[in-house]
């Protein structure tokens, strides 16, 4: 059988597109429908209630508290991940014995299941036994074990650290892509002209790497927003709701308090925010450098 030429590309992308439509777009449409009804648990039906779920959510301080936490979560992670990744990428962009092995195995933290990441850090940060607390106490920093998951501020910071620990190597590799694209001769020429390491970094590396950094900040933001399992398994949103970001709130509302429709409304709002951010960010990044 001969497929006409202009249909051919669609025959190739068709299966993938149909699959994504069925698995992402169709459920999204269902989520929107669900958010306009009053369904409490899966399988039951509800009445059409229009926008009242949205109205309820938007006047609920719990939602705004959670949205605020998500914002701080995303910012803190994006900054920490990108900084760690920048340092790591600059180091791995040098030549030294074993650089290839280092470039491959730096992603070790990312190939480990989150459940295991959670277990590892729960143990390292444990208040009975563990590693970090005994070390802190031996070195005389504290007298009593620090409750890394017990105090709201410390718990939030600890989670940011653990999540960034897991993701920064992934960002590092993508940043290396931007770094390896900077022509070596630029550095050679600058050294001959007597530029020191700092000058070479600030005049060559930084300006040429800036667009890559922009893309990676966006990717980091999207990745961090969606993080659910690490938070859920370590603190379940606590203590005192200090780590209840939007994904945690959605999960809790749907599967713990059985208010599916309200959870769907929160989820749709989150999607609108996130997609809006992604669209704006990609448009901003697509502009020529001079216009920025």
């Amino acid at each position: 059988m001969k497929i006409p030429k202009h249909i051919l590309p669609f025959a190739f992308i068709g299966p993938a597109m149909l699959f994504l439509a069925a698995m992402l777009l169709w459920p999204l449409a269902q989520a929107i429908i669900l958010s306009l009804q009053s369904v409490r648990s899966v399988g039951t039906t509800g009445d059409w209630v229009g926008l009242s779920n949205y109205r309820e959510v938007l006047i609920d301080p719990v939602f705004w508290g959670s949205a605020w936490l998500s914002l701080i979560w995303v910012l803190a992670n994006a900054v920490l991940q990108t900084l760690l990744a920048l340092v790591a990428a600059l180091a791995l962009n040098q030549s030294f014995p074993g650089v290839r092995i280092a470039r491959t195995w730096i992603v070790l933290t990312w190939i480990v299941p989150t459940v295991v990441v959670v277990m590892i850090w729960r143990w390292l940060f444990s208040t009975s036994g563990g590693i970090v607390n005994p070390l802190l106490m031996l070195s005389g920093v504290t007298d009593a074990p620090v409750g890394f998951f017990a105090n709201p501020t410390i718990a939030f910071a600890t989670l940011v650290f653990i999540n960034s620990w897991r993701w920064f190597p992934f960002i590092t590799l993508m940043m290396l892509a931007g770094l390896t694209r900077i022509p070596r001769d630029l550095y050679e020429a600058a050294s001959i002209d007597g530029a020191g390491p700092w000058k070479r970094f600030s005049r060559i590396t930084w300006p040429l790497l800036a667009p890559t950094l922009g893309v990676l900040l966006v990717i980091g933001t999207l990745l961090s927003f969606n993080v659910f399992d690490i938070i859920w398994l370590l603190t379940a949103g606590g203590p005192a709701d200090s780590t209840r970001t939007l994904p945690v709130l959605i999960y809790e509302t749907a599967f713990k308090s059985y208010r599916m429709s309200e959870a769907a409304a929160v989820a749709v709002l989150a999607t609108v925010f996130l997609m809006g951010f992604a669209l704006l960010a990609t448009r901003w990044l697509a502009r020529p450098p001079e216009a920025r």
């Binding site: 051919l8 590309p9 698995m23 169709w26 480990v112 459940v115 398994l233 959605i250 599916m260 997609m275």
Partner: protein, 275 residues
């Protein structure tokens, strides 16, 4: 370029800190898994094990369903990888080697799918799968894993397809190769490293997926490792030795996989990415 001694020391300091940050936690886990219980919870953590025992591994394998969980995860991750490749390779070929109306728009839409908050579809998908009778099946997990890996997989193939000179393809076409034959005989061998990269990416994301599996799988016998393992964490009184052994074993398959094809995965991320 010549580097001064000070510069080299600074580089060494950064590399040592990085290695510590990444490897030390794993070191404590691996060595912890072979320490006697008393040493694990001792007041002074030991850098090198003072005792040796395999009791935690023995207990893990005999007293829990851990081997079943591992098997389930292998099946789900392998199936997800195969299906993702079957969908992503033709799509990548069309996106990056052919021109057609709406290509840019569709490609953007795919990238946007990557920005999709996964938790949003958890609720409706649960309902849809319930209706289709897919709840509590490994197939449900495979479908979910493919959906989340596919956009990134297509994106990753970009540079690999782009690096092939157009002349090779034209020559094959002039020799009368049908498009599917050209893809199979010429393109796939040439983008093999890209395919390896996508395969590693998909296998790992499927291997580590927790949220959907925890909601969609109800019976113990079908649980993949992450869900089963988190069950073990909750079900016993915290037995750190057992958990450390479980964590160590769960690293094995991905570390072995990565030892063989990790290089290609890294190439896929560093060369294709950020465009």
């Amino acid at each position: 370029m010549k580097r001064t001694l000070r510069w080299n020391l600074a580089l060494l300091a950064v590399l040592v800190s990085l290695a510590t940050l990444i490897l030390l936690p794993f070191w404590f886990v691996l060595t912890g898994s072979i320490k006697e219980p008393a040493e694990i919870i001792g007041r002074e953590p030991t850098m090198f094990p003072q005792s040796f025992t395999l009791q935690h591994y023995a207990k893990l394998i005999s007293a829990s369903d851990y081997p079943v969980y591992m098997m389930n995860s292998m099946i789900v991750a392998t199936a997800s990888t195969v299906i993702t490749l079957l969908l992503a390779i033709p799509a990548g070929y069309a996106f990056f080697r052919m021109s057609f109306a709406g290509r840019e728009t569709l490609y953007r839409a795919i990238l946007l799918a990557y920005a999709f908050p996964s938790i949003v579809i958890l609720i409706p998908l649960f309902g849809i799968f319930a209706k289709l009778g897919l709840l509590d099946s490994r197939l449900a997990l495979v479908l979910v894993n493919v959906a989340f890996a596919l956009p990134f997989a297509i994106w990753m193939l970009r540079s690999f397809f782009a690096s092939i000179p157009i002349e090779i393809e034209e020559a094959a076409r002039l020799d009368g190769g049908a498009p599917l034959t050209v893809l199979r005989r010429i393109m796939i061998p040439l983008v093999a490293p890209g395919i390896a990269a996508v395969a590693v990416f998909t296998f790992i994301t499927s291997w580590t997926e927790y949220v959907f599996a925890s909601v969609m799988i109800l019976s113990d016998a079908k649980r993949p490792m992450p869900v089963g393992f988190s069950g073990i964490i909750g079900q016993y009184q915290i037995d750190w030795g057992l958990l450390l052994a479980g964590a160590s074993l769960s690293l094995l398959p991905v570390v072995i996989l990565f030892a063989f094809v990790g290089r290609w995965f890294v190439a896929g991320l560093t060369e294709g990415a950020v465009k």
